[in-house]
């Protein structure tokens, strides 16, 4: 059968582990939005002494790869310390699942980001986070590393899709090396906006294309 998903992915999709909510979680996050297509919520319980993730649950509004990644990443994170869990990557989750279709990377990466955001939420609440840093081209580039190029299944920075980035007076300008009417132009544009707009000192994000 030529499903784009292997048996392990399908198994996690049908019987996802660690689904649900935790009442009064120590940290929680919501990544993505119905508008971008997929959304995950992650809830964590942390041992304040050992900094170990004692419990983790997730909810998903998403496609099969989103649900399966949520399932596997919560399994992988459970019982780890926060610093260990923070390092878990989409690639590791994907490998653990035996591989995901590259075009689905942007849906599945959400679960990983959800985990990191829930940990950050806990750290902020516990006063473990410093002052917020001002946005720079480096900060923007770092965020763009979480925007997938669906053509390749790798991020837009690594695949040289970003031609230019500038930041001035709260306005971010990004030039993507794609024709404006490319099959994925609209999706990539929405993904970029979604990653950059939440930065605290960004007023506007202008994304243009090379052709």
């Amino acid at each position: 059968m030529a499903f784009p998903y292997n048996d392990k992915v399908l198994e996690h999709f049908r019987n996802p582990r660690n689904v649900g909510r935790i009442e009064e979680p120590d940290g929680k996050s919501t990544e993505g939005s119905p508008a971008c297509g997929d959304m995950v919520a992650v809830y964590i319980k942390v041992n304040d002494e050992t900094k170990v993730l004692e419990d983790i649950k997730f909810e998903s509004y998403g496609c099969a790869s989103n649900i399966a990644t949520g399932s596997i990443i919560t399994e992988m994170a459970k019982g780890k310390t926060l610093s260990e869990a923070k390092k878990l990557s989409w690639q590791q989750a994907s490998e653990e699942l035996g591989g995901l279709p590259p075009i689905k990377a942007h849906c599945s990466v959400l679960a990983v980001e959800g985990l990191r955001a829930a940990i950050r939420d806990y750290e902020e609440k516990s006063g473990l986070i410093e002052e917020r840093e001002p946005t720079t081209v480096e900060v923007i580039t770092k965020r763009l590393r979480h925007v997938m190029n669906p053509l390749r299944g790798l991020d837009v920075v690594r695949t040289d899709l970003i031609k230019d980035i500038s930041f001035e007076d709260g306005v971010v300008r990004i030039v993507a090396d794609l024709p404006a009417d490319h099959q994925f132009a609209a999706v990539i544009k929405a993904d970029i906006a979604e990653k950059i707009e939440p930065l605290w000192d960004v007023r506007e994000v202008i994304i243009s294309f090379t052709e």
């Binding site: 999709f13 049908r14 297509g37 997929d38 998903s60 509004y61 099969a64 009417d181 994925f184």
Partner: protein, 393 residues
């Protein structure tokens, strides 16, 4: 391998009817020559007669004369031919303005977009919440330089049927050509060009239990259409290329098998499906018009869940349906039709199209409603969008 599959994606493609295959067979193995003129050899003459008969039969179904029906490779080619052919013929002479609707299928939408890049102006009309184009808006959009209005007969996703009588009458009155894409209505709803003010009509066999890769374009006599695929003089010099006679014969055979009884049966099944889904499953929204819709089309949004998850879960239970979710599409973009009727991304992502065909039964309909109720309940149990007090597992 798929004998057990309950196939509910008949708007995308249909199972060939065996009787169609039987009608086609002689043209593969016995009368396999290309169509020759009446001065050719016997096999070529008989092949041409087969082609002529198929053409006459299809034209008659549209209320047209045989020579007004051009065979093509399907709806995509027919609609490309209509829009680009008219644009090439009239662009310099009359004007460079086209009018389409926001929810046209991709052949019309993207042919218009391609012309838009070549100096044509395209007005894209909005539709209302049911997907209907207001004929008054068509009237308002037509200007001195308008050469063609292209508004579909019924929508590919939500099934909404447009008032092509009224729209055509406006075009006729203004002296503008009118094209309609009837891929999802041909033989399923009345469409008679001898009574309707329509100049070009796109039709296809793939939605009618005929072969894939064959369609047609009705062309009213006198309509100016530039030839854009050059070669020989086939199809009244409108479309070059060796005729696909087996497919043409198959198309005609498929159309002859469609009866009003069958259309009525599809309507009854569709209504049963819609009535049950909307009554039994909470947080659902009908997409498209409740009554002005193609007989076999049902489209519903299941809120708080994503369509690819639904279709995959249904597939694992043996049902084939499609969704307007971005995750399901090759462009990763949400359905332009659901967005076009004022829906948001969430409504598009959770939309599921069930399209019925000849081989579907009431058991299929009941089976898919039961299955989707269960699938949606399970997916909502893990959805962050679903209100917590309504979750059950």
């Amino acid at each position: 391998m798929f004998g057990e599959t309950i196939y509910l994606d008949n708007s995308a493609g249909t199972r060939l009817d065996e009787r169609v295959l039987e009608a086609m067979k002689p043209y593969f193995f016995d009368t396999y020559a290309v169509a020759t003129s009446e001065f050719g050899y016997s096999m070529g003459i008989v092949a041409r007669e087969g082609l002529d008969q198929a053409r006459a039969s299809l034209a008659a179904r549209l209320g047209a004369q045989a020579e007004e029906f051009i065979f093509t490779s399907g709806s995509t080619e027919s609609s490309n031919m209509a829009l680009k052919g008219v644009a090439l013929a009239l662009g310099e002479k009359k004007g460079k303005h086209l009018v389409i609707s926001r929810i046209e299928d991709f052949p019309v939408l993207n042919s218009a977009a391609a012309l838009g890049k070549r100096g044509f102006r395209v007005t894209v009309l909005d539709v209302d919440a049911d997907g209907l184009v207001d004929p008054a808006a068509v009237k308002k959009a037509i200007g001195q330089d308008t050469i063609l209005v292209s508004i579909q007969h019924a929508n590919q996703e939500i099934g909404t049927v447009q008032d092509i009588q009224a729209i055509g009458a406006i075009c006729r009155d203004k002296g503008v050509l009118f094209h309609t894409d009837a891929t999802h209505t041909f033989t399923r709803l009345p469409l008679d060009v001898s009574a309707l003010p329509v100049d070009l009509v796109t039709v296809s066999a793939h939605t009618l239990h005929g072969p894939k890769g064959v369609g047609g374009l009705y062309l009213r006599p006198g309509t100016q259409l530039a030839k854009w695929m050059d070669g020989g003089f086939q199809e009244f010099n409108h479309r070059a290329g060796v005729e696909d006679i087996p497919s043409a014969v198959g198309f005609a055979a498929a159309v002859e098998l469609i009866t009003e009884e069958e259309n009525e049966r599809l309507r009854t099944l569709r209504d049963r499906l819609l009535d049950r889904v909307l009554a039994e499953i909470p947080h659902t929204t009908l997409n498209g018009h409740r009554h002005l819709r193609a007989p076999g089309n049902a489209n519903v949004t299941f809120h708080f869940v994503e369509g690819e998850s639904i279709t995959l879960q249904l597939d694992m239970r043996g049902f084939a349906v499609s969704t307007g979710s971005a995750c399901f599409s090759k462009s990763l973009e949400a359905s332009h039709v659901i967005m076009g009727i004022g829906g948001d991304h969430e409504r598009a992502h959770g939309s599921v199209r069930f399209s019925l065909g000849r081989f579907n039964t009431q058991d299929d309909v009941d089976g898919v409603v039961d299955a989707i109720a269960e699938v949606v309940r399970e997916l909502r149990a893990i959805s962050p969008l679903m209100p917590a007090d309504e979750k059950e597992r």
